[in-house]
């Protein structure tokens, strides 16, 4: 038998090329006679366009075409980009046109495109496109946008309230009326961008001979892109091949379909030449979707001992000008908020506000970091007010392991009440606290304080809904070379999907992992697909891989049994060879079997035999899965400067059974880094007229190697019964509780001064301001 791959720290098959500089990202693609595009973008947050004068640009050196919306083909002249997620009635969210149509609604919105011989010439010529704007009032703060006299974000809408979403259960009024204590707080929370290191990029080319339009895009969802592009171009999707080659990070903003992904193919078709567009980082800040601000008020009702009786919240969600991923955020927030806790009565209402800012889309964690932040900060408040240890307050409220499966009467995206099938929340918290040496922390803190140092510890628990539908597919085919070709609609932006799926398939079929070649993110390799979001790929594509692999193994067994004239039970498959246990142990390699499976011209197949050794399986989850965990952060705060250093970071992580611990740990560690960014650094600022103020990495700060400690991760593996692999997904969990744990730790470090923090990011300026307000500097030794 070959070694079992599931659960092993298998080194990634992706790495060999990437380490040698042989990756193939979209901007690496070079096609003969390829032209280059540069987009003219709106400098205004809101304006009407009275005219676009393209004559000078069209006459500029090296220019092949300058296109505004009227120059685009067919439906692209009038239709907005089709939505992939249907909106409920009355929800006034929308997608954009492929190029602005008479009105611009945020700075950076694409207005026209210049196509030229080189990227530099296209950019030169773009400076000569003259757009006559009638500048209108704009609004950038979601709270201001909801005022009755606020300027409308879109001229055809009377107001900026795009949706009202309410969710909850139980008798909330009664819970609050009868509670021993009620506490409430207001929160401001910000996420910012996904900030993948690779910006967006598109190359499109129609092959004259085959009539096939190939589009390479740095996207998380090539199959969705193919579908939308087919609709916009009124073309059969079988004449469009969408490929996401190597993609340099995704994190959410590469999930939706963008205007540029329609305009570049349209230009390639119009000009009959390949066209490339690569976004620069400045453009990325202006035009790649982000998460914006959330403003919460949250009230909690507890009994004498700190047990939760009720929870009531309201949120204003800043949706920006466009929402290509629909209205999913309010429900994610509502479902995430109660988390791992018993909450007998619960009410939550969201106002979704339009603003004149770039489009919104869920970023890694998809609104959950904010919900967890609010809930965990609230529990810290309860602990403090009732003088109970923060871990103890949580212990008293956590859902017990014996209570699984635990159903909460809240309806999620899958239209089912949420049910936690698996997980042992108290154990996850216990493990994280133990590795953080929580019990000894009070002593460490006292010693540090005696030495003039401010250290603190923070705890945050979370539950994340993962593995959302509708489906994902995997095809497995044994080639005549004996290699196993695998294709999937799942897409990889660094998660190691190729390696993970190969591990599952090697075990299922009985072959060496090196003999498996996985193609991801190519509509030409598998007809149906969805893509990467919601920590779904190990669950859904992984399960499909298992199903397809097992089916091919059954084909191999049947074929070998026939060839050796033995019972199927006699056949053994390992390391790419099928053999019979008995007799002289006849054996056939996968290469020989693949040839045999194609038959001979003229010869008849056995009854029921199908040609080839191949199978396509689709896995459609019945409902969402839930992963969970606890994060414990220890920080040191420099009270004079407000600088925060994360000293130690411990994670108790339950993502069900783990296919590859190395990859899962990498996902958690990377997620924590993202969470540290959200807790302390990342802030996409706009002025009140909607002008972006942070459009370089010198203004919008990402965490660096000196900001992120190496986490200590303890795995808890409670198998998930909802899929055959028992996995629950790991892509986003690291990012979700990190801001809550870190800000709690900062507050704890500064507890002698009584300061409280209800915001993320928490910047040094804010820390210093809070300390000053609390009179801390009078008590700190003068420097």
């Amino acid at each position: 038998m070959g070694t079992r791959q599931f659960g092993a720290r298998v080194r990634r098959s992706e790495d060999a090329d990437l380490l040698r500089g042989r990756g193939r990202y979209v901007d690496d693609i070079h096609l003969p006679s390829m032209l280059h595009a540069y987009f003219v973008r709106s400098p205004h947050a809101h304006a009407l366009m009275k005219g676009v004068d393209m004559a000078a640009a069209r006459a500029a050196q090296g220019v092949a075409a300058v296109l505004a919306i009227e120059d685009l083909p067919g439906a692209m002249r009038s239709a907005r980009i089709p939505t992939v997620i249907a909106l409920d009635d009355g929800v006034a969210l929308r997608t954009q046109h492929c190029l602005a149509r008479g009105e611009v609604n945020h700075v950076g919105q694409p207005v026209a495109v210049v196509i030229a011989r080189t990227a530099a010439l296209a950019e030169d010529a773009a400076a000569h496109v003259a757009v006559d704007y009638d500048v209108l009032a704009a609004v950038s703060d979601a709270r201001a946008a909801l005022a009755h006299d606020a300027p409308p974000v879109h001229c055809d809408l009377s107001g900026n309230l795009a949706a009202l979403v309410a969710n909850g259960y139980g008798d909330v009024e009664a819970a609050f009326a009868g509670a021993a204590h009620v506490f409430s707080d207001a929160f401001w929370m910000h996420r910012g961008g996904g900030m993948a290191m690779e910006t967006r990029a598109v190359v499109a080319h129609e092959d004259g001979a085959s009539g096939m339009l190939t589009v390479w895009s740095s996207t998380q969802t090539p199959h969705l892109g193919q579908r939308i592009l087919a609709e916009l171009l009124a073309r059969g999707s079988d004449t469009i091949r969408a490929i996401a080659p190597h993609v340099g990070g995704g994190f959410g903003p590469k999930a939706p379909f963008y205007p540029e992904e329609a305009v570049i193919p349209a230009a390639a078709l119009l000009l009959g030449q390949p066209v490339k567009w690569t976004e620069d980082r400045h453009e990325h800040f202006l035009s790649a979707a982000q998460e914006h601000d959330q403003y919460w008020t949250l009230a909690i009702a507890v009994d004498q001992s700190g047990r939760i009786l009720g929870l009531r919240g309201e949120m204003i969600l800043d949706a920006g000008a466009f929402a290509p991923w629909g209205n999913v955020m309010p429900n994610i927030a509502a479902v995430t908020l109660p988390g791992p806790y018993v909450v007998p009565a619960y009410g939550f209402a969201v106002k979704v506000a339009l603003t004149n800012k770039v489009a919104t889309v869920p970023v890694r964690g998809a609104g959950r970091p904010q919900a967890v932040f609010a809930m965990e900060r609230m529990l810290d408040r309860v602990a403090r007010e009732l003088s109970i240890d923060r871990a103890e307050v949580r212990r008293r409220n956590l859902i017990a392991a014996e209570a699984m499966p635990y159903t909460r009467p809240l309806v999620f995206r899958d239209a089912k009440p949420i049910t936690y099938q698996s997980g042992d929340f108290p154990r996850a918290m216990h493990m994280a606290l133990a590795s953080a040496r929580y019990d000894g922390f009070k002593d460490r803190q006292a010693r540090a304080r005696a030495g003039g140092r401010h250290i603190g510890i923070g705890i945050a628990n979370y539950v994340e809904a993962t593995g959302l539908g509708p489906f994902e597919g995997v095809s497995v085919r044994v080639l005549n070379t004996g290699k196993v070709a695998v294709a999937t609609g799942a897409a990889d932006q660094g998660q190691g999907v190729r390696t993970t799926l190969a591990q599952v398939i090697a075990d299922a079929i009985g072959c060496r992992i090196e003999d498996i070649e996985v193609r991801v993110g190519d509509t030409g390799a598998i007809a149906q697909g969805v893509g990467a979001f919601a920590s779904r790929q190990a669950i859904i594509a992984g399960s499909a891989a298992l199903m397809a692999g097992e089916a091919v193994r059954r084909q191999i067994v049947a074929l070998a049994a026939r060839a050796f004239a033995v019972e199927e039970a006699e056949i053994e498959v390992a390391d790419g060879v099928a053999s019979a246990r008995g007799g002289n142990r006849p054996a056939l390699s996968f290469a020989a079997l693949a040839r045999l499976a194609q038959g001979e011209p003229g010869a008849a197949f056995a009854a029921g035999q199908m040609p080839g050794l191949e199978h396509v399986a689709y896995f459609a989850p019945a409902q969402a899965s839930f992963c969970n965990g606890t994060h414990v952060a220890e920080v040191e705060v420099d009270a004079l400067t407000g600088a925060v250093r994360v000293l130690d970071y411990c994670v108790g992580h339950d993502s069900g059974r783990v296919i590859n611990p190395m990859i899962v740990e990498g996902q958690v560690q990377g997620g924590v880094a993202h969470g540290i960014g959200n807790a302390l650094l990342e802030w996409m600022r706009y002025d009140e007229t909607g002008q972006p103020l942070t459009t370089t990495f010198a203004d919008y700060l990402l965490p660096t190697a000196t900001d992120v400690p190496t986490c200590r991760i303890a795995h808890i593996e409670t198998p998930n019964p909802l899929n055959p692999l028992g996995v629950t997904g790991a892509g986003e969990g690291g990012a979700i509780p990190a801001p809550a744990a870190i800000v709690a730790a900062i507050e704890d470090a500064l507890s002698p001064y009584g300061v409280r923090f209800c915001e993320m990011p928490l910047t040094p300026e804010r820390i210093v301001a809070a300390l000053r307000e609390a009179g801390a500097y009078a008590r700190l030794a003068p420097i």
Partner: protein
Amino acid sequence: MSEHAVTLTVNGVAHARTIEGRVNLADFLRHTLGLTGTHVGCEHGVCGACTVLVDGRSVRACLMFAVQADGRAVTTVEGLAAADGGLDPLQAAFREHHGLQCGFCTPGMLMTLTEFLRENKTPSAAQVREAIGGNLCRCTGYAGIIAAALAAARRIAADGA
């Protein structure tokens, strides 16, 4: 746009080209010479993805004009692996310690650390963190990169001993 003659070596291979003065070294390597291993993440000198060695010193190729590399020797990520294609100790350690996910920051990390490890034979984790403090990685949270650099240092020391 004025054109300039540039002669340089990249990974030991001599190249002579005539290019516009405004072309930066990163674009020259990627699009003129077709060496797309060097990546561009920001074009404003912060992310470090474009890091290459010029006469052995790390530089941000997005902040240097190609004409400034005239007469110099440039090393890119494509020049790290041995002639037989085997990974060098640092590259091998990145694979072993999961020092990369999407791989986009990786060429810059490798070039920065190549220079660092040449000058720091027995680095501490804190020194490695400082060394890559100017290279952004959005995927890994840096832990695997730091582990890889430390392992590579040990390996290089052992091989040299």
